[in-house]
Point group: C2
Chain length 288, copies 2
């Protein structure tokens, strides 16, 4: 990996051809190949500590909260009483950190394929990895699709915090995975998955929305702004087994006081609603 | 300017330290120093044709519509009957292209400091520069602050489509400019200005919001998503002389049919409302 040159890290990917984002590096803290991928942790001039997998930025200290909070509280507040949550992926611990804050959640099970990511996050990204310390959490190391297929009728919410569909997370973007999730969910259960970017990947997103609609009575697509993901935003795909779910309208409205007490920096009930309002081109490409 | 190396253009600026965005270049179409700035037009692999001023991306064929439409239709639909519009800057012609579509608008006056930008846009970016062909438009070449100071009680809406506060547009971010705009506006008039990025420039934005509040009874801050601006979004600062203006709620709601007829690709009435909903951190930093 020659992604760092002259103290600048550059992210390039076949998923975003013809463009790249670069950050000035203060120090490389860790760089090794795990059994699954290239794992890099660096301290940067502007974004603080950064986790990079197979050359793609996963999270930075400056802006990770946008993704973690929206991936967590959008599905949780749309469920009437989420008690058991499954996180697939999320090896940095950021989604777990948010999920365990939610008052009704009693049990969190996480399945991450790469133990090295968890180990490295605990050591170098303690502000993200703090979720791993919760007594509510059980962590499994293994394949996400395989794990989900062995659980039936067990979870209220499943959050798929995956990297992109090139690499170890590829299976988490397929129809089979969603079918397994549908069976692993309890009645009324909800799944929320990383859903790529509407400016670059409308065909992938549309394909996923279309097959999800054959399995779930309610399917929706939202997005959040996050400067260090390509194009400055990332989508999430939501499916519910409950036909009455309205993803754009939280069942449980977090008050300003809740938001303060839970130390939320991005999520609030208004930005939840706004996350489902698409610009005209995306409305036509994704929802027509 | 060695911003292009090995067929990749890289944008770096003191306004976004420690990070840069790069694009693969197919062909450099124009590159010259004008009397005011370095002007570059290139054709790129993924974003089509791109205008760059002093090393900073101003607009790309793929995503420019987000900025142009939101900068135009947010203020226009918040005014009860906008007839005369002043555009300061906007030398690529994109804002003019949108403003002239609006049915009530009778007269558009534009003041751009750099004739070279207009000339180059007409030649190489005809899809953006088409606004210059409208019989409603009068184009002046000159300094924006100077131009505004010579007009009193004349415009319903002023749109400041400027580059960033380093370079020829610096004066357009100052208190004096807003004072002059206030006087150039008719009663009930509205100003909408490029308002930087909430993730990087909250202090600049807060300073501007604060001095605008001493001059206008209604001041607000919204934003739009656009992949090729740093961090993937850009804000806009709105001020109204009418205390009853509600920027987050358009007075004139464009129907789906209007949006189709005007060939809008980003703006619709829902995304207008959503543009004013800020994530928690920005709400605290900008509005508290």
């Amino acid at each position: 990996m020659n992604s760092i040159q002259n103290n600048w890290f550059t992210e390039k990917s076949a998923l975003w051809e013809g463009q790249s984002f670069s950050m000035e590096v203060k120090e490389v803290l860790f760089h090794e190949k795990s059994d699954f991928q290239d794992v890099l942790v660096m301290d940067t001039k502007t974004y603080g500590r950064v986790l990079v997998l197979d050359g793609c930025i996963q999270c930075t200290e400056k802006d990770e909260f946008s993704y973690q909070e929206m991936m967590t509280f959008v599905p949780l507040t749309c469920h009437p009483n989420p008690k058991s949550v499954l996180i697939i992926g999320g090896g940095d611990g950021g989604v777990a950190r948010e999920v365990v804050k939610y008052p009704t959640v009693e049990k969190v099970v996480q399945c991450e394929i790469d133990a090295k990511v968890v180990e490295v996050s605990k050591k170098f990204l303690p502000f993200i990895a703090s979720g791993f310390e919760s007594p509510k959490l059980t962590l499994n190391i293994g394949d996400g699709l395989d794990f989900v297929s062995k659980h039936k009728n067990e979870f209220d919410v499943i959050i798929t915090d995956s990297s992109d569909p090139i690499g170890p997370a590829e299976s988490l973007f397929g129809e089979k995975y969603y079918k397994m999730c549908q069976e692993a969910l309890k009645p009324g259960g909800i799944i929320c998955s990383q859903g790529e970017n509407m400016w670059y990947h409308s065909k992938i997103i549309r394909t996923m929305l279309d097959f999800c609609k054959t399995m779930f009575p309610k399917v929706s697509y939202g997005y959040t702004c996050i400067p260090t993901y390509p194009g400055g935003q990332i989508g999430f795909l939501l499916c519910s087994k409950n036909p009455d779910t309205k993803f754009e309208e939280p069942l449980k409205e977090l008050s300003e006081e809740d938001v303060e007490n839970m130390n939320l920096r991005y999520y609030n009930a208004s930005i939840h609603r706004a996350a489902f309002i698409l610009p005209q081109f995306a409305k036509k490409e994704l929802l027509n």
